[in-house]
């Protein structure tokens, strides 16, 4: 046993040595190539990303890509209403990256100097009406939602999708009384998916994500209520290296492809 394993160990060691040498050469190469001041070392460790609920599908996908590109990293997400996330960041939640669904929300974070640099808009999102599959109520416009007897849910005006819906309604000069002001865009969508409401005003990305469980209806007033999505590295980020690399990935061509496939618009 012992006599046979000794040479194997030596061989393993030798291969490992070669591997380390190769890695060293590679990393030297890459750091020379990118020349980024903040992220000279290969990102590693856990990365915590706080992101708007509407980014759930695309960011989860990008997180997997990131972990594959940078072995040894682990991306954990906290998806939720942008304002809730902003509030927890300003009260000290340990996050590396914050991606919000509106510039107004991001401003509450930048106002407290909680970001490491100025936030950058990486995508935009516009509203769409989500109706039941097959659109049985024949909803063609925002005005159709004001028909009596129709159960419509909106996001609460304290969250970005609700604020956007209100400004779209204002643009159209419409008055709409929903059955509920939901706490975030996903719960508004859920009410339609479960057929409890006839329609909801959500983002077009949410309509895409729901697949054939809802049907999307575009409306012209949405142009006046486009949300910019800013992303920023946070000042107290526990893992700034990985955070910078993740933001780079989100803004790269690959990231753009995933995000536009989810229904986001280029900034």
């Amino acid at each position: 046993m012992t006599t046979r394993s000794a040479p194997r160990t030596r061989r393993t060691l030798r291969t490992a040595g070669a591997g380390v040498a190769a890695l060293l050469a590679l990393s030297g190469c890459s750091s020379a190539g990118s020349g980024d001041a903040g992220s000279s070392s290969e990102p590693s460790g856990t990365l915590t990303v706080f992101a708007a609920a509407s980014l759930q599908e695309s960011f989860t996908k990008l997180g997997k890509t990131f972990e594959k590109q940078h072995p040894g990293t682990e991306v954990t997400f906290n998806f939720g209403g942008s304002d809730t996330l902003a509030a927890s960041i300003t009260s000290g939640a340990p996050a590396d990256v914050f991606a919000a669904a509106s510039t107004r929300t991001m401003r509450t974070v930048t106002d407290r100097d909680a970001t490491a640099g100025p936030p950058r808009t990486f995508v935009r999102n516009r509203l769409e009406i989500a109706t039941l599959p097959g659109n049985p109520d024949r909803i063609d416009s925002l005005e159709d939602l004001t028909r009596p007897g129709l159960k419509v849910v909106l996001c609460d005006r304290t969250v970005p999708c609700g604020a956007a819906a209100q400004s779209a309604l204002r643009t159209g000069g419409l008055r709409l009384t929903p059955v509920s002001y939901e706490e975030d865009v996903k719960s508004a969508l859920t009410k339609v998916v479960l057929k409890e409401a006839d329609a909801a005003v959500v983002y077009r990305t949410d309509v895409r994500a729901a697949g054939d469980k809802v049907e999307g209806v575009e409306f012209p007033e949405a142009v006046e209520a486009v949300n910019d999505y800013p992303i920023a590295l946070l000042r107290d980020a526990p893992n700034p290296g990985a955070a910078g690399a993740f933001i780079d990935l989100v803004k790269s061509a690959e990231g753009r492809k995933v995000l536009t496939a989810a229904g986001f618009l280029a900034p």
Partner: protein, 289 residues
């Protein structure tokens, strides 16, 4: 209820009934010192429970409090909260006390399982409870679609929906509390009543119920308090609309999104009201027993 006290087997009387507590035990032990291994964790426990509340008081926006609290929306939400929590407690009493009796006094196959199922809402995250309610009583739900088709009743997004969501979450507290009291109560009183010719229901109504009144009261208070603070099941099942389904916890949560100071103010109102109600009830019900 009051008549039964006079003619029952006098469990609340001064005689040495099974529930008559030794008189004023506190005064007798007051002189002795509590052992440190109990005193220290007890103090830590108390501090742990009270510190967050103290922090709320310290950081409360006292200066802007008057204007925060005079807004109509706050009172609307508070009134709705009180009405719905009370309705949920009454509903819990109507169906929960008989359920507790069934669990404590009868024997049927699978009783242990039923008992475990009753406590399920205690461990279920309330949001999941809300989704489950939607799947059951929603417009498209297992039962709800028939309610809609036959009676034109839809429960989501209505005040009734809020009451149902709160009952779902709060009733297990009542059932558990009442069941415990029933198990501790001596069944011989009921048996005596039945040998004297009372039907089982009469024995329950005239003997058991007065006997367990303190337990029922305690359970109701627990259920009421739980219903008052209910958030997850309510917002999921009943949605959020001011005046119809927006109870205080929902208003607090949404205020927290963009105006934390207002959220703290709202929470203080909820706290003050619940303390006032609970203290009031304690004086009237609990100590009377």
């Amino acid at each position: 209820m009051t008549g039964a006290r006079a003619q029952g087997p006098a469990p609340a009387g001064p005689g040495p009934g099974p529930h008559a507590p030794p008189r004023r035990p506190a005064r007798r032990t007051a002189g002795r010192r509590a052992p440190l291994p109990l005193l220290i964790p007890a103090a830590a426990g108390l501090a742990f429970l009270l510190l967050p509340l103290l922090a709320l008081l310290v950081r409360a926006p006292w200066r802007s409090l008057p204007e925060q609290l005079t807004s109509a929306e706050v009172w609307q939400a508070l009134r709705l909260s009180l009405v719905c929590a009370t309705a949920a407690t009454v509903l819990s009493l109507l169906i929960g006390v008989p359920l507790a009796w069934l669990l404590a006094r009868t024997d049927f196959p699978g009783r242990g399982l039923v008992r475990a199922l009753v406590t399920l809402p205690l461990v279920l995250p309330p949001v999941v409870g809300g989704v489950a309610l939607l799947l059951a009583f929603g417009r498209n739900g297992v039962v709800g679609q028939w309610l809609d088709a036959w009676f034109g009743i839809t429960l989501p997004f209505t005040t009734t929906g809020v009451v149902l969501a709160e009952t779902f979450v709060a009733m297990p507290f009542l059932v558990i509390s009442v069941e415990g009291t029933l198990r501790a109560a001596d069944p011989r009183y009921e048996e005596a009543a039945m040998t004297l010719g009372a039907s089982r229901f009469t024995a329950f109504r005239r003997v058991t119920l007065p006997l367990i009144a303190p337990g029922v009261a305690a359970g109701s208070v627990l259920a009421w308090a739980r219903a008052l603070g209910e958030f997850g099941a309510t917002i999921t099942f009943a949605g959020n609309f001011p005046g119809r389904t927006q109870t205080m916890p929902l208003a607090v949560y949404l205020a927290l999104q963009n105006d934390p100071a207002a959220a703290v103010a709202l929470s203080l109102v909820l706290l003050a009201v619940s303390i006032a109600v609970l203290a009031g009830l304690r004086d009237r019900w609990m100590t009377a027993s």
